[in-house]
């Protein structure tokens, strides 16, 4: 049986002492929104208690009521937070309420920012990571969710929190190796958060990351996120792209031409081949080879321009103008 709609605040005797205030006084606004009577009523009463500065438990009811109708009402959120602090309310209880609202209103800034304010007070980030993992099951790429996770890790900077993170991000990438948010999180974790115990061998870390991304590329090469990650690792570590030439070359030719680029018959564990059903040549691989040739300079510039031409006219015609720009720039630099 459905619950009845709660009465308007105007009809609640316990709110009779508050004077509700209209939004626009003496102004007939342009572009008015057709508020429901429920929303209008609640926000009129909100304006009323903001004016008197009341910070009481009933204000928590009122702000929750508004937030459920408009989760982006940032003033209601701000005032709710101040009220919680003034009342010295139990913030872990508030967080449990927020669990429900966060899932309901995943794409709203305020619901995540409110959590941040609460966690800064409770100083208990562990359960947050679990909550975030649950939220990411529902919406695997939610920007607020991922950046909140990064903030938790960076702000508390606790080894115990970091220790399970590699496992977590790998499980996300196992589920979907094209999840750019997960790749970014991996980069954040590995390269942007200082050096943790066990990761002091930075060269070893770089090699580990290269192995990881190569494996993912072998499975499904046409994955812009993985290529961006590969470049990111090399740029960050200042390793030349040419180090990866043996790996990338097979990805830059059609399947039928694979044999031509392989130097040996031996399986090279360092350089996994693209899967036999991968759609080759992979545009990002061709681009990568062109960048290698460009970086070598001299006669290799012509090899780069050949590859850019093949992209412009055959493999990636949508970006023809960009490839022609690359050709022009490279030739200008030669002079």
């Amino acid at each position: 049986m459905e619950a009845e709609d709660p009465p308007l605040f105007a009809d609640r005797p316990e709110w009779a002492d508050v004077i509700p205030l209209e939004q626009y006084e003496g102004v007939s606004p342009l572009a008015p929104i057709f508020y429901t009577s429920e929303y209008k009523d609640a926000t009129n009463y909100f304006r009323g208690i903001v004016k008197t500065g009341e910070k009481s438990p009933r204000v928590l009811d009122l702000t929750e009521h508004i937030i459920r109708q408009n989760p982006a009402h940032y003033s209601a959120w701000q005032y709710r937070y101040k009220t919680l602090v003034a009342l010295n309310a139990p913030l872990d209880v508030e967080l449990r309420l927020m669990d429900e609202l966060a899932i309901k209103f995943l794409k709203t800034y305020q619901v995540w920012h409110h959590r941040r304010l609460l966690v800064q007070q409770t100083k208990d980030p562990g359960p947050e990571l679990e909550f975030i993992a649950r939220a990411l099951q529902i919406d695997t790429k939610n920007y607020h969710t991922w950046s909140y996770r990064q903030w938790i890790l960076a702000h508390f900077n606790d080894d115990a929190l970091w220790s399970r993170e590699l496992e977590f991000v790998e499980s996300m990438l196992e589920y979907d190796l094209r999840n750019n948010s997960a790749w970014h999180h991996r980069f954040f974790m590995v390269f942007q958060s200082g050096v943790r115990k066990g990761d002091e061998d930075r060269d070893g870390v770089v090699r580990r990351e290269l192995t990881f991304v190569k494996t993912k590329l072998a499975t499904a090469p046409n994955n812009a996120s993985a290529w961006n990650y590969l470049r990111g690792v090399l740029d960050h570590s200042k390793w030349p792209y040419s180090n990866l030439e043996s790996f990338v070359a097979p990805y830059s030719v059609p399947q039928t031409a694979l044999q031509d680029v392989l130097s040996e018959d031996v399986v090279d564990l360092e350089n996994p081949l693209p899967s036999p059903v991968a759609q080759l040549p992979c545009v990002a691989a061709v681009e990568f080879m062109a960048d290698i040739y460009e970086s070598k300079g001299g006669d290799d510039i012509m090899k780069a321009t050949e590859l850019w031409k093949s992209l412009a006219h055959q493999h990636d015609t949508m970006r023809r103008k960009y490839w022609e720009y690359r050709i022009k720039e490279a030739l200008q630099n030669v002079r």
Binding site: A31, I33, A72, S147, Q150, A154, R231, K321, Y322
Partner: protein, 461 residues
Amino acid sequence: MGQPRRSPDDQYVTETSQIQAETESVLRQHLPDDPESPPPLQRTQHLQFLARNLIQGFPSRYISQDASQPWLLYWTLQSFSVMGVALDPDNKQKAINTILACQHPEGGFGGGPGTRSPSFTDLCVGVRARYRRRPGPAGGWDQIDREKLYKFFMSVKQPDGSFLVSRDAEVDVRGTYCLLVVAYLLDLLTPDLLAGTPAFVASCQTYEGGFSSASQPYFSAEADGTTRLLDDVRPSLGEAHGGYTSCALASWIMLQPYLHLQDPAEPRPSVDYKTALQGSEIELGGSSDGCYSWWVAGCFALLASQGVGGGHGHDADDTATTRADEEWSVWNELALQRYILCAAQHPAAGLRDKPPKGADAYHTLYCLAGLSAAQHNVYPSPARRAQVDQAWRPSPDSPNEELRRASFTEALSWSEEEGTSRVLGSSVNRVNATHPVFNLTITHTEGIMSHFYKQAIPRRK
């Protein structure tokens, strides 16, 4: 042109590739028979869609935008400007009154009357740019309390150079962008306001070349009891994202006059333009949401202004060094126009993210702004810069004169390149050019800046 190819999935399906495939299937249904003849821009319909919201009001599902009322006005009124339509005097005055009602007693403007101020000031100002008749009581501009506005801005400035979007609220580059636009247009830029902000913006660039929403600052405790911001540990929070990239790059450009006045011996933050260009190219190719028409495509003009990815150069006397039929852009602006006209126009009026979604005011503006960016080459012209600078009347008493003058001339040097517009389909599809930094028309930018900087703007030669 041929049928565009489907994104390859290497026969390895994941959630991402599935959604991509579904999207592409829907989009293919919207391909025109003749790629050179897309459906026309349905101006009248879109104007009616916008006007209905403006005059009659927004339906109750827009309650979610109740804390963004000035945005609703901005999206609507800027769309009118892009389509070359002006509002009647009565509704102009109503717009001014509505916005003024959002001005907060402590400075700044809120998302609605009586709410705390976030940086919606941007929108208010942008919107009111259209409504200047004369300074004074009903003119609007002079009723903005600039002193309190500046105080509000300084009150949300953070030690790492970023700005909160409102008291106790989040930091992100959107807020930084909005704040900088307003400070820039209203002649509120000072070294105090901008200190540390370039480094913050630069710290938001990720390994992909685009920009994230914010970065995490770390401080070290110094012997004298103070704390020092660490330069090299500023991890980005959130991945590279079209909207944040647009805000960050535009902010970066607005910060250039300030940066150039700094001591050259001091280390200067920098942005990697090359990866930014590459990132933008990938982003434009991969995403399909109509609003990225502005957020991503709009970035190319910004990058070109910094010398990266521009189609051609201009000499000091502004003779274009390429012929009009040569490329001025390094991205596929015709394909974008095709997308907007074929897929982003909603059959029942307004513009949208992608089919089969509904239209809304936000997507209507950003699709039209993207159409504008795809049609016109707007670039900073050395000749126009010189012209504006020559007409500058110095005020010896004003502090920050150099910064003001440089900011003024930079912003107003942006010009539409004559004779190089590229409109897909008939001329009815042509929309007005847009200032790539402020997302206002150039005329409006000139109007508002001349008022607040108290400078005359020379006619264009």
